[in-house]
Symmetry: C2
Subunit: 164 residues, 2 copies
């Protein structure tokens, strides 16, 4: 457990997202913070994902993902979609299927839909590179949830090494 390393890395500011994946009739969604734009033309986003996560297999199989931007008041939702269980997370919220087939939260600050354009291994994660094919700013006046404000909701302090 390394609170100080987690504290340090939280100074790399990021938002909090519910990422949706789908392959055929299967779909899932999970909370992530390691998301950023990586290209203007074409429009691309990168998502760093743990390849041991069952949603990674769905992402690869379906080749699509959605990024749903959470608001500051959606901390409880972030916790729910961060839970390890793979079933039923979407059943408790209002969602619909996007043009890519990925699930979209009805209630979010903004959202993006991506087609998987490539992968890049990075340490214990994999970068999923997404070509952004759609996006909408749903609530322009809302403030985004900031990852540092979630405390240790995701248990990341236990995942960092103690030193360099």
């Amino acid at each position: 457990m390394s609170l100080s390393m987690a504290d340090l890395f939280k100074r790399i500011t990021s938002g909090v997202y519910v990422v949706g994946v789908a392959a055929g009739p299967q779909r899932n969604a999970f909370t992530a913070a390691w998301v950023m734009p990586v290209s203007f033309r074409p429009l691309m986003l990168a998502l760093s994902i743990n390849p041991k996560h069952s949603s990674f297999a769905l992402l690869r199989e379906g080749g699509v993902f959605s990024i749903n931007v959470l608001r500051r008041d959606q901390l409880e939702l972030a916790g729910r979609f961060g839970a390890p269980a793979d079933t039923g997370k979407l059943s408790a919220v209002a969602w619909r299927t996007g043009k890519t087939g990925a699930p979209l939260l009805e209630d979010a600050l903004a959202r993006f839909e991506c087609e998987l354009a490539g992968e890049c291994p990075t340490g214990d994660h994999v970068l999923a590179l997404g070509r952004v094919v759609d996006g909408v700013l749903l609530q322009p006046d809302a403030e985004p949830l900031i990852y540092r404000e979630t405390g240790d909701l995701d248990g990341a302090s236990g995942l960092f090494p103690d030193g360099f």
Copy 2:
């Protein structure tokens, strides 16, 4: 010019950083927002960089980079290091050479030093993957500068396409 696309993508929250690079006696530093952690073990950060930027050649040649986290009151500094000129940007601020050889700002919220561990092309940018070999939280009570709060300081609104 696409203010609405820039507005949308700014909902992917990020901080603002001065990235330092060095190769032999040459060094440079530039402002970037597309930085995020990508692995716990080993500790890794990804930086999305325009390969046409002259600092990219230095980064590749030297194989190291630093990430200096700017505070909310360092907007003017962000603008200065965002200027296209390649010379003299470091001469106007207090900096020192880090253990990797990369330049470090003396006055920053936090900083990281990385060894270049890989690259991954993504559209019009390249992801530089850095193994984090050192880092320090210098000002734990300071608030980080948030990219969305910088307005159109970097002219990004002119770089986004108008549609998907």
